[in-house]
């Protein structure tokens, strides 16, 4: 079906209103304001900055623990302490080792887990607040609009096509059919978060890959309201050990918030060997540890969410600039996997992108020649200083925790070099071993009070989608699911998706894949962890997805 699309022009188009995208928008708007007021030519306008956000509201799709290093925010919004919705400063940083029955607090908290000077925040609230400032600065933020396709031009990009709205589940236009827009921009900034769908396309098409493939972790989070006195606000603990084996890279977090709330979660690297491993079940099991049971007893689940994060670090960072395009934030691998800090790096990358774009707008040249300045800025900023030190960190753990500790200790004393530099790695989905006839595990049911099954948890994510629309999860060959995957890997999508989207249902002639797309929480795990790489996460009709507001 050929669709007539309305065309619009912007100076700058930012896909994603997360910390990176919004920092880019705000910093650029501020630069433009100063430029105009000092008579700079050509005159620029913050109104020509468009930000697309697929969520229903700013912050709706933002999920993180989260602990934030305030250094980037201090630069972007001086005096932020007065107005920013920071929940509580970190008061105590603990590293805990869990065994099945007990827990040990490491006597001296290792430096990566020491969070003194940082804040426990709700990333969603922070983003919503920041978005308000961005809008007051004149930038156009379009909620409920996603970037569905890139407009390619020359060696780079010239804009984005937004998603079609009002198609029924068979792809036929409904009465309120509204085609996506062709948004042209001098510079397009991809700020889509981990495993951005446009970023994935661009990296593949323009061969922007680095020497290592990106590795991702899946973080599953619950927000609880607990009995008074169970947890201190600002108490920050990271746990290692039970229930994860030493071969599985991952750990838990417990962050005490104000008002008797606690943020808990488990992050697991999506490079585990057992395709039948269920991260959601592991998370629920982790909660039954006496340490957690004690905190959660008598409390109630308030919210649930899940999202991936990029562990790959410096050597997995794609080339971040092309003609007319820049990549910022999690889409560009700006996350310190050792310290588990990405918010300030995302914001800083957005700000450096803004400075680069500012030069391009002034000179009128948004080609890679100008935009290359972005890479230079990154290399001379604390982004590189921080990420360079841990450039081999995640890779050290590919043979298990013990190896990892040894190798990373070497890296610690050699500025990140360690025994091998660069340490190479393989894509996470190549780690699966075949199941060789192993039967499917019994699905985790939960007790309904402390632990929950997936569907109950998904309900608490507030996720909803327009039901009558095409399925946004594109599987290129469903036959593989019913024939090869069923034999080789036992259809791991049923286990790794934290939102109960995928299930294999029995049919007369074997099994068939059923996709409950309306449950999707936009975490991108399926796109990342599917062993055949046949799942393509595409953007659904804007407004759909989880509701992490206030979380």
């Amino acid at each position: 079906m050929t669709i007539e699309r309305e065309q619009l022009e912007a100076d700058v188009l930012i896909v994603g209103a997360g910390p990176a995208g919004l920092s880019c928008a705000l910093h650029l708007a501020n630069l433009i304001k100063k430029h105009n007021s000092s008579g700079g030519k050509p005159e620029l306008s913050a109104e020509n900055i468009y930000v697309l956000e697929k969520g229903r509201e700013l912050g709706a799709h933002q999920l993180s623990g989260a602990i934030m290093n305030p250094k980037a925010l201090a630069e972007l919004v001086p005096g932020f302490e007065k107005n920013a919705p920071l929940d509580t400063p970190v008061t105590d940083s603990a590293a805990l080792i869990f065994t099945q029955k007990s827990s040990y607090r490491v006597p001296i908290t290792p430096p990566p887990f020491n969070n003194a000077g940082n804040y426990v925040i709700s990333l969603s609230k922070l983003v919503k607040w920041l978005g308000g400032i961005v809008e007051s600065a004149g930038v156009n933020i379009f909620k409920e609009f996603g970037g569905a396709d890139l407009i390619y031009e020359g060696d780079g990009v010239a804009g984005v096509i937004t998603e079609d709205k009002g198609l029924d589940k068979n792809g036929k236009p409904k009465a309120n059919f509204t085609p996506g827009y062709e948004l042209h921009a001098k510079v397009t900034v991809l700020a889509e978060g981990p495993r951005g769908s446009l970023t994935k396309q661009l990296v593949a098409k323009k061969k922007l890959d680095n020497i290592n493939p990106q590795i991702y972790g899946l973080g599953i989070k619950e927000l609880w309201e607990v009995q008074p006195g169970k947890i201190k606000p600002g108490y920050v603990a990271h746990t290692l050990g039970w229930p994860l084996s030493t071969k599985t890279y991952g750990g838990g977090w417990i962050y005490g918030l104000s008002n008797n709330r606690v943020s808990i979660g488990l992050v697991i690297a999506l490079e585990y060997q057992d395709p039948l491993f269920d991260p959601h079940a592991a998370f629920q099991t982790w909660k039954t540890h006496p340490f957690l049971r004690n905190i959660l007893d008598g409390g109630r689940l308030v919210r649930y969410g899940a999202k991936t994060l990029p562990y790959g670090g410096w050597y997995a960072m794609p080339r971040s600039y092309v003609d007319g395009g820049l990549i910022v934030g999690d889409s560009g691998s700006f996350l310190d996997s050792q310290r588990l800090k990405g918010v300030h790096l995302a914001m800083k990358s957005g700000m450096l992108a803004a400075e680069t774009i500012f030069e391009a707008l002034k000179s009128g040249d948004p080609s890679a020649k100008t935009l290359q300045l972005y890479k230079d800025k990154i290399d001379h900023s604390y982004i590189k200083r921080e990420l360079w030190k841990v450039r081999n960190f995640h890779q050290s753990f590919r043979n298990g925790l013990l190896d990892g500790f040894v190798l990373s200790a070497f890296q610690e004393v050699t500025g990140g070099h360690g025994l091998t530099d660069p340490m190479r790695t393989h894509p996470g989905y190549e780690a699966y071993g075949q199941i060789h006839g192993r039967p499917a595990p019994e699905r985790f049911k939960g007790d309904g009070k402390l632990t929950f099954d997936r569907l109950t948890d998904v309900y608490h994510s507030g996720t909803r989608h327009e039901e009558d629309q095409p399925c946004h999860l594109k599987v290129s060959d469903l036959n593989i699911c019913s024939t090869r995957c069923v034999e080789d890997y036992g259809n791991p999508c049923q286990y790794f998706c934290p939102a109960a989207v995928y299930e294999m249902v029995k049919e007369s002639a074997g099994q068939k894949l059923k996709i409950n797309f309306a449950n999707c929480v936009h975490c991108k795990t399926c796109d990342i962890a599917d062993p055949y790489q046949i799942i393509d996460w595409t953007v659904p009709e804007g407004g759909g997805g989880p509701n992490y507001e206030g979380m």
């Binding site: 049911k445 309904g448 569907l455 109950t456 998904v458 309900y459 909803r464 039901e467 009558d468 409950n516 309306a518």
Partner: protein
Amino acid sequence: MKILVVTEQRQGKWNNTSFETLVAAQRIAEAASGTVSAVVIGKGVSSLAEELAAKNLVEVLLVDNDLLENYTPDGYAVALKQVIEAAKPDLVLFPHTYQVRDFAPKLAAMLGKGMVGDCIGFRNEGGKLVFIRQMFQGKTAADVTFTGAAPWFASFQSGAFRADLLAPRASGRAPVNPAKVELSANDIRTKPLELFKEAKSAVDLTQAPLIVAVGRGIKAPENIAQAEALAKVIGGELAASRPICDEGWLPMERQIGSSGQTVAPKLYLALGISGAIQHVVGMKGSRTVVAVNKDQNAPIFEIADYGVVADIFEIMPALTEELQKVR
């Protein structure tokens, strides 16, 4: 306490929820030492008034007027305002019907009063009447009290009381008294035209008093016919949990749950439904829930009044047969 119930009829036929409201009135009268009267309004409806005279009421008021033959909001409001001013009840009760929603709040406002609508029950707390209604689409209940002097106006949700429990008069008949109202054609600004029935493309499950719902346990679209037969014999509507509608085995309008309809029928028969929270939030307001499921640990049993741990393919035909017998 004097309670006046405004009953509803159309073209000489009762809207049966009127009887539920009469029962509500009788209950309140018991709790608050009151009396119950009723008003019948329309044209040529004296036989309906006579029918009510056999119930345990102290009086039946008959408003019979040419201009009230067809319902209009103006006609009913102007007429009933006069009836209420003359009868001076403390509490005026209505069934919460589409028609009542159309005029009753305004009627109350004309008398300077407010209306507590769509109540699901009441309580007598030390002499004060507390009306219970739902808020947040049934997620919470609310206790509401009236402020200020009588008359107070309230309507009750269909199914909140059982019409068959309307007590008859022990002896004799209640007086049927004509209530005179001054009504002119100029008072009535809208003109009702023809009534018609439409093969509704959309089914409104929220209005169905009896619902038979199927879930995953139905296994295949061909099996839905069995549930349909059961729904037919019971006089109920067919509904489903989301997976069934997702597959296209039943249209989306029949979906019950957080992404479908929220219903509160008299009877909800859940066949092969596990009871995931997404479904339960759409039906837990049902008065009586019967669940049939093979899995004794299915969460649906937590909210069921009657549970059957069995194969739905054995229960459905047995139940259909049994219901045929008592039809």
